[in-house]
């Protein structure tokens, strides 16, 4: 019997999902909470296997609550159940310990399937969530602005900051901060590595 707790501040949503789960064999709802505080109190007395967690709670950020629960009760698996379909939220929830991400427009079968998969130890994303993630992975190709491209080619050719500043009619400090941003973006530690990356990845 899979024990599920639902944390959501919309009673209609919570109710609907509770009905869905109780009618399904093999899983049961052992508690509900409408805010972070209630959830924390609930977890002191009950130990579920799965928590369905909304990100938008009235008293605290769902992502912070996720981190809290994951740190304190590492054996409880968390599935996000939310209306936010931006990559940022998915990334943050996963970082904070969630094992699955369900959008509220998911089909009922997806919710049940998600609970079963996560209980087995797998990761689960509802279909739309999954497509956001894969779209993101495609777009992972690097994007360089006009300025950054100019800067990179000048750096690769070996110009100093001062010379670059003169060439592009910018201040030296501006060139410095562009250079810093480039290092961050490309994920390299110094100019030499940046040049190497630029050449091997044919960025310029």
């Amino acid at each position: 019997m899979i024990k599920v707790v639902i944390v959501d501040d919309h009673p209609i949503v919570a109710d609907g999902i509770r009905q869905l789960i109780s009618e399904e064999a093999g899983m049961d709802v052992v508690g509900t909470a409408m805010c972070g505080k209630d959830c924390k109190e609930l977890l002191q007395n009950t130990t579920p296997d799965i928590i369905l967690l909304d990100i938008n709670l009235p008293d605290m950020n769902g992502m912070d609550l996720c981190a809290y629960v994951h740190n304190r009760y590492p054996f409880i698996r968390i599935i996000a159940l939310t209306g936010f379909k931006e990559y940022f939220y998915m990334q943050k929830m996963l970082q904070n310990g969630a094992s699955g991400y369900l959008l509220k427009n998911a089909l009922p079968e997806e919710i049940l399937e998600g609970i079963r998969s996560v209980y087995k130890g797998e990761r689960y994303f509802s279909e739309e969530a999954g497509s956001v993630i894969s779209a993101r992975k495609e777009k992972g190709k690097l994007f360089l602005t006009i300025r950054e491209t100019e800067l990179l080619s000048l750096i690769v050719e070996g110009y100093t900051n001062k010379e670059i500043a003169e060439k592009l009619f910018l201040g030296v400090e501006t060139v410095n901060s562009y250079r810093k941003n480039l290092l961050l973006k490309l994920g390299v530690k110094n100019t030499a590595a940046m040049v190497k990356l630029a050449i091997t990845e044919k960025l310029i």
Binding site: F88, I146, T174, L184
Partner: protein, 572 residues
């Protein structure tokens, strides 16, 4: 004369008595011991106490060792020289005990010698001689002739100076001299002879004294002590000129011993007076007095007075000198007056400059305040705008939104009842739906709730997701910032994106947000028709004022074929 003999002997005893200790034990603290000896030579007595105490602490609890001996001995000698006799006694006896415990006859002998010197300094002849005798006995057992000579020398010295027993002293010295001559101990042969010469002079036996001095010359041991003894003999023989020339030659050399030096000066003064050379006598006397830091005794003052009275011609010289000094004083006063005046003028100049500076500062401050006022005005304007938008957003959502929703529900119910007009009703309902959505979007755009809750990244991502031609890229580490910064950056982004959508005729817009540890960078780029110089329009001016408020920098790249790229950089 006797006094000088005593001084002489004291010097010799000291020089011969304190000898650096050498040993062949394990090289544990050799350096410290050598260092203490050096400190003794340099007369840095306070340092000796520190080093000795440290050494003693290091060897505790084994305080009966050769290191302990060295520490106690050095400390005791230093205390003796500085006149702290009680503490010196304690330390020197501890040294003796240590020497006895390790059963080292050399060190025992030295310990006795040092204790003898201590008693000598306290004018206790019997105790001093007793310990010197012990030193002698130990040396005799070992066959250490040099130490025997030294011990005898010290005993003779104590006898002569304290007990005033010249004959007894001579017998000690003769015994010592015999040994010294026998073993060819040059130092002993020289100094003992000079000492004995002094004693013979004191007894009035000038021939014996001269004979001894000849012997000193014969062994090539002539020094200024011998000079002094010879001078004393000349005095007794009333050959004053010879004596004085000897004194002069002594004083011409560098004399290390202050007591000896004073004695020479004293005798030089006396003999000069006896010789009738008052000028020199006065000079020597004055030098003598100048070197002693004790107070003038009445006796000395009287002597000086007498000499001065006898020297009337010198007074005239002094008068001339004093007049010259007066002149110098007046010159000095005039110069210092001028200097004071100059200083006064300089101060005036500085004061004037200071006043000017203050004025400048005050003007700058006024400028600064005006600038701040402008900034405050701009900020409050934007703040007010933000607040107003927030209010509008809420009111829209609460008031209008509620009404529209209710209307929709009503219509829904109505549709269910009236099957006939279904189509028209459905049309109205869909209109309402769209109004609600539109109103939500408006409210959201005015003041997005997620901005305060979740920050720039998600909100910007969502904003861009609403438009298919807008792509959003994020690099770096997501971090929350001050509320004002987030709101303003968000507004700037919205303006720029909307501008690009409306005016640039672009097909693709890229929005990039980079967050580093200490800075933030927002870039909006489009591939549209670019900005000419004149078409900046209304949109960019609000962006510029927000940027100025934040203290950020703006960078624009634009061209007819290249599209437009605007970058905002901010340290935060």
């Amino acid at each position: 004369m006797k006094k000088l003999a005593g001084i002489l002997l004291g010097i010799i005893t000291f020089v011969l008595g304190c000898h650096p200790v050498s040993f062949d034990h394990d090289p544990g603290y050799e350096e410290e011991c050598a260092y203490m000896q050096e400190l003794l030579a340099r007369k840095e007595y306070d340092s000796i106490y520190i080093v000795a105490d440290r050494l003693l602490k290091a060897v505790t609890p084994d305080t009966l060792s050769v290191w302990a001996y060295n520490a106690y001995s050095s400390k005791g000698v230093a205390l003796d020289i500085t006149g702290k006799y009680d503490q010196a006694g304690y330390n020197l006896y501890c040294a003796l005990r240590a020497a006895e415990a390790i059963d080292d006859p050399v060190l025992q002998g030295k310990a006795h010698n040092n204790i003898g010197i201590l008693y000598f300094n306290q004018r206790d002849a019997d105790q001093a001689i007793g310990h010197y005798h012990k030193f002698y006995e130990i040396a005799a057992v070992r066959g250490d002739s040099i130490s025997m000579v030294r011990a005898l020398n010290n005993m003779g010295n104590a006898c002569a100076t304290i007990k005033k027993d010249l004959d007894g002293a001579l017998s000690y010295f003769e015994t010592g001299l015999a040994i010294a001559d026998r073993i060819g101990y040059w130092e002993g042969r020289q100094t003992i002879r000079i000492t004995m010469a002094d004693i013979c002079i004191g007894k009035g036996n000038l021939e014996k004294a001269l004979q001894l001095l000849d012997e000193v010359k014969a062994i090539d041991g002539w020094d200024y002590y011998a000079d002094y003894a010879l001078a004393t003999i000349y005095n007794k023989q009333k050959q004053y000129d010879k004596a004085i020339s000897l004194y002069q030659s002594i004083l011409a050399r560098k004399v290390n011993n202050r007591e000896f030096y004073l004695a020479v000066l004293n005798d030089a003064s006396e003999i000069s007076e006896r010789n009738g050379d008052l000028k020199s006598a006065l000079r020597y006397r004055v030098r003598y007095q100048a070197d002693r830091d004790s107070m003038h005794t009445l006796e000395s003052a009287r002597i000086i007075q007498n000499l001065k009275i006898a020297y009337e011609t010198e007074k005239k010289e002094m008068q001339i000198v004093s007049v010259e000094e007066e002149k110098r004083l007046i010159l000095w006063l005039t110069l210092s007056c001028i200097a004071l005046l100059a200083l006064f003028l300089v101060l005036l100049v500085f004061r004037q400059r200071f006043i000017n500076q203050k004025k400048e500062l005050a003007e700058k401050r006024v400028e600064q305040l005006e600038q701040e006022k402008e900034l405050v005005a701009a900020k409050s304007l934007l703040d007010g705008e933000n607040q107003e938008r927030g209010r509008l957003s809420r009111e829209l959502h609460d008031g209008l939104g509620g009404l529209l929703t209710m209307a929709k529900l009503d219509l829904d119910k109505f549709r269910q009842e009236k099957e006939t007009e279904k189509e028209r009703l459905e049309h109205v309902i869909s209109l309402m739906d769209r109004s609600i959505t539109e109103m939500r979007r408006l409210a959201h755009n005015l003041m997005p709730e997620s901005l305060a809750r979740f920050g720039l990244y998600p909100v910007l991502e969502e904003f861009c997701a609403g438009s298919s031609s807008v792509d959003f890229y994020f690099y770096g580490k997501e971090r929350r910032l001050d509320r004002d910064i987030e709101i303003n950056i968000y507004r700037i982004a919205c303006e720029l994106i909307n501008n690009a959508l409306k005016h640039a005729e672009a097909s693709q817009i890229n929005v990039q947000l980079i967050q580093a540890d200490d800075s933030l960078s927002l870039t909006v780029q489009d591939d549209g028709r670019g900005m000419g110089g004149s078409t900046e329009g209304q949109g960019l001016s609000t962006v510029r004022s927000r940027i100025e408020l934040l203290g950020a920098t703006l960078n624009i790249v634009s061209g007819k074929e290249r599209g437009t790229e605007i970058t905002v950089e901010l340290n935060c």
